[in-house]
């Protein structure tokens, strides 16, 4: 009798689980819990340290390759890393190989540069979308203007003050790739390893474990992983943002997943030994 009752729990309408998850995500959005993120992962710390060690005026190339589907995790990472670059008075160049990313880049640069008094063309440049990442990556090794002769506004890229003295990877201090795709592997293989350019990445939490080998060998200087990584980077630059506030929702959602897995397995054990 009890066995049958317990088995009913496995056949529960999945919409109840959907509802539970929706409630668990919405509560912290409406009423933030505000628990502090106490730990900083080694990889996020290393990424921060590398960027922090650069000298003012050095050029950092950001490849922002994500679309709105991974925006909640990756946009806060991109914002935090760009804020850090501006705080350090680094010159910033932005490229993208995902068409859906262009609007998100626009959203970042509508707001962030003004907070630091940075100007388009003088302190940063946004290049237009390119469809073929490997070709663009390889081309930038010899002459960036061979592929990006104009910025996204159609201005001659070579004549922009921000591009002064920049011709190829040798003139860049760091490449930062924030992506929801496997693009980071290409940046490591085709650029970092071959041309000896330091690369660090920002990826979704689900892809993070896959980059362990690159981190161990130093092929990646650091890695920001998921929303927690974004929250960590925000706390390192002391600028709380969407990553810090988003982690609140993750608190309960993560615990719900654990509780559901534990519950179903405990029920299974009870049914088996009844």
């Amino acid at each position: 009798m009890l066995k049958e009752k317990l088995q009913k729990f496995f056949k529960i309408d999945r919409r109840w689980i959907f509802l539970l998850l929706a409630v668990v995500i919405f509560i912290p959005i409406l009423k933030p819990i505000g628990l502090p993120n106490k730990t900083i992962s080694r990889d996020a710390q290393n990424a921060f340290n590398f960027m922090d060690s650069l000298k003012p005026g050095q050029f950092v190339l950001f490849s922002l390759d994500y679309d709105p589907s991974t925006r909640p995790e990756l946009q806060p990472q991109a914002v935090a890393a760009i804020r850090h670059a501006f705080k350090k008075n680094l010159r910033v160049g932005v490229v993208t190989y995902i068409a859906g990313s262009t609007g998100l880049i626009q959203q970042i640069f509508e707001k962030v540069p003004a907070e630091y008094g940075k100007k388009n063309g003088t302190d940063y440049v946004i290049f237009p979308y390119m469809a073929n990442p490997t070709a663009a990556m390889t081309q930038m090794a010899s002459d960036i203007y061979g592929i990006y002769d104009r910025d996204q506004d159609g201005k001659d890229a070579k004549s922009l003050p921000v591009m002064k003295g920049i011709r190829n990877y040798k003139d860049m201090a760091l490449v930062v790739n924030i992506t929801g795709t496997a693009m980071l592997d290409s940046w490591v293989a085709f650029v970092g390893d071959k041309y000896n350019v330091p690369v660090f990445g920002g990826v979704t939490a689900i892809s993070q474990p896959g980059y362990g080998p690159y981190l161990q060998t130093g092929q990646l200087k650091g890695l920001i992983g998921g929303m927690k990584g974004a929250a960590e980077y925000e706390s390192l630059i002391q600028e709380p943002g969407k990553g810090t506030s988003g982690i609140d929702s993750l608190n309960l959602a993560h615990l719900l997943v654990l509780v559901l897995i534990l519950t179903s397995n405990i029920l299974l054990l009870v049914i088996r030994y009844l």
Binding site: L35, T102, Q106, A131, K228, I247, L250, L255
Partner: protein, 222 residues
């Protein structure tokens, strides 16, 4: 005919493949020039591939609508979605912002593409949680190890989990972040490295087979 359809394409693949491979290792002006030329060609070919994909997409969905196959109504949304983004992009010359504020493209990106794309991905979370409850069964020692690793990683990824760990296992002197660090840098890396080496060797072998004409399936059946 066979010479045009088989031999010439195979020769092109052989010559371009060998030259591209060699240029990776030869730091000479000629190899750099060659790579630059190839990059330009690659971009042009990619543009045509996009066009081909688009024509194929339109044709497939047109055929579904005209034959009124199951779910043909969804195919209409392919056209609606496409034109809802492409028309503003053409009208606004690809600009999302102008001196007067947001353009039609900016609006379409912010209020059509952005929420639709985010919703598609967000729905996944609901299915994952439901599947975790229904299907994650610890029926073997391997499944238990997987569960244990997942449990620690999920717990350690959020402050609330860190607090729970500290309250329950703080006496061990091991923080959850240290345990995660170990999982990520020892067993996870070992597994991933093995997979990566396997994939890399497979890719090298397949590439060489294509370059030297042993693998010809990409040329089609004719």
């Amino acid at each position: 005919m066979k010479f045009i359809k088989k031999t010439i394409p195979l020769l092109i693949v052989l010559v371009v493949g060998v030259l591209t491979l060699a240029s990776y290792y030869v730091p000479h002006k000629y190899s750099v020039d060659y790579l630059e030329l190839m990059n330009k060609w690659e971009n042009i070919v990619s543009a045509f591939a996009f066009l081909l994909g688009l024509i194929s997409l339109f044709y497939t969905h047109y055929s579904k609508i005209s034959r009124k196959v199951d779910g043909w109504g969804y195919s209409i949304f392919v056209y609606i979605g496409f034109f809802a983004m492409v028309i503003p992009a053409i009208v606004c010359h690809g600009k999302q912002m102008s001196d007067t504020g947001q353009t039609a493209l900016g609006w379409a990106f912010g209020f059509i593409y952005n929420p639709l794309s985010a919703t598609m991905f967000a729905v996944l979370a609901f299915y994952i949680v439901s599947t975790a409850y229904r299907s994650f069964r610890i029926k073997s020692p391997q499944a238990f190890v997987l569960f244990l690793a997942a449990f620690i990683l999920i717990l350690g990824k959020v402050p609330l989990g860190q607090i729970i760990w500290h309250s329950a296992l703080g006496w061990t002197g091991q923080g959850v972040d240290q345990v995660i660090e170990w999982i990520m840098s020892v067993p996870a890396v070992a597994g991933k490295r093995g997979i990566m080496i396997g994939i890399a060797i497979g890719a090298v072998v397949t590439s060489l087979k294509i370059i030297f004409g042993i693998e010809k399936q990409y040329m089609g059946k004719d």
